[in-house]
Symmetry: C2
Subunit: 177 residues, 2 copies
């Protein structure tokens, strides 16, 4: 978001053919709600969709594909947050995480898929639960980012957009730029 | 959430075979983040999954399947919020919507799928955008509920749970009840 430091979201691999659409939504949510980059494990179609949206609706936002998500996590220089229903309550740890961000540390937000390896829990500086209930990694990411940025991401300006949606009480209005 | 009034989330029909998993995540997010009920159009498998999670992790939470989502919307007695990237900014309208809720009006939150009929935009008291960017209906629902309840939903107690996840710094802890 051009903020104090870099926020990267990394989406671990999903079972082939099963969760590609969910992975796309993780990428689009990362972009829309203020992250600077998404790294996606083994999902070319999702990467393409998120890049296409960035081309049309603006950036800056980076999309990177990787075959080695665990190496990225293990080599990360900064703070690692792993979103998991088994983690500590977001409302208890968000202020501390925000401090790291505001002090200029690069933040890596790990979004799992099925069966997250135990190494990820250990590599994380914070295992964070948006409730301890089973729901959705997309929902958890959204609430996490909205709280991290305290809503500032909602007023974000986009650069190089081809089109801009103008808020409307009823109906749809899209302007070409 | 046993709050001041009833919050129902309704998920419009998705194209068969395409977004069933997304629909399940809408239902699970509604439950985890404080809604009282989800109504799902034509997706028996999603209904079953959300009911199964409610049986195991607790309630109260209602799951209803419908073949006629538009009739429910058009006959709704209360406030209707439609989440759409074309709508008014959530940060501008959330306080007003919260007032309706706190005054005891039943709230229907409409979550679209592909191609939402124009009737829905017209039936809604509020068309609300969680940003005007394309991302995810699951993300929008999550941010909407977290803001509506101002985070109170995160501390919700669950009744009749078979199992409870205990927040943990590293790893997983689930207790059977």
């Amino acid at each position: 978001m051009g903020g104090k430091s870099q926020i990267t979201v990394i989406r671990l691999g999903h079972r082939p053919g099963r969760d590609e659409r969910m992975t796309t939504h993780v990428g689009l949510t990362a972009r829309a709600l203020g992250a600077d980059e998404v790294i996606i494990a083994n999902a070319s179609q999702s990467c393409e969709t998120v890049r296409d949206i960035t081309d049309r609706f603006g950036g800056p936002f980076e999309v990177t594909e990787t075959a080695e998500p665990l190496s990225i996590i293990e080599g990360w220089d900064g703070t690692i947050v792993h979103l998991t229903m088994y983690g500590l309550a977001i409302q208890d740890v968000e202020a501390e995480i925000r401090d790291h961000y505001q002090e200029g540390e690069s933040l890596l937000v790990v979004v799992g898929a099925e069966k997250v390896p135990f190494d990820v829990y250990e590599a994380a500086d914070y295992n964070v639960g948006v409730t301890n209930q089973p729901h959705s990694e997309v929902a958890s990411l959204a609430v996490f980012l909205d709280r991290l940025f305290e809503g500032e991401e909602l007023g974000q300006e986009w650069e190089d957009a081809d089109r801009v949606v103008v808020p409307k009480e009823t109906g749809k209005r899209v302007e070409k730029r």
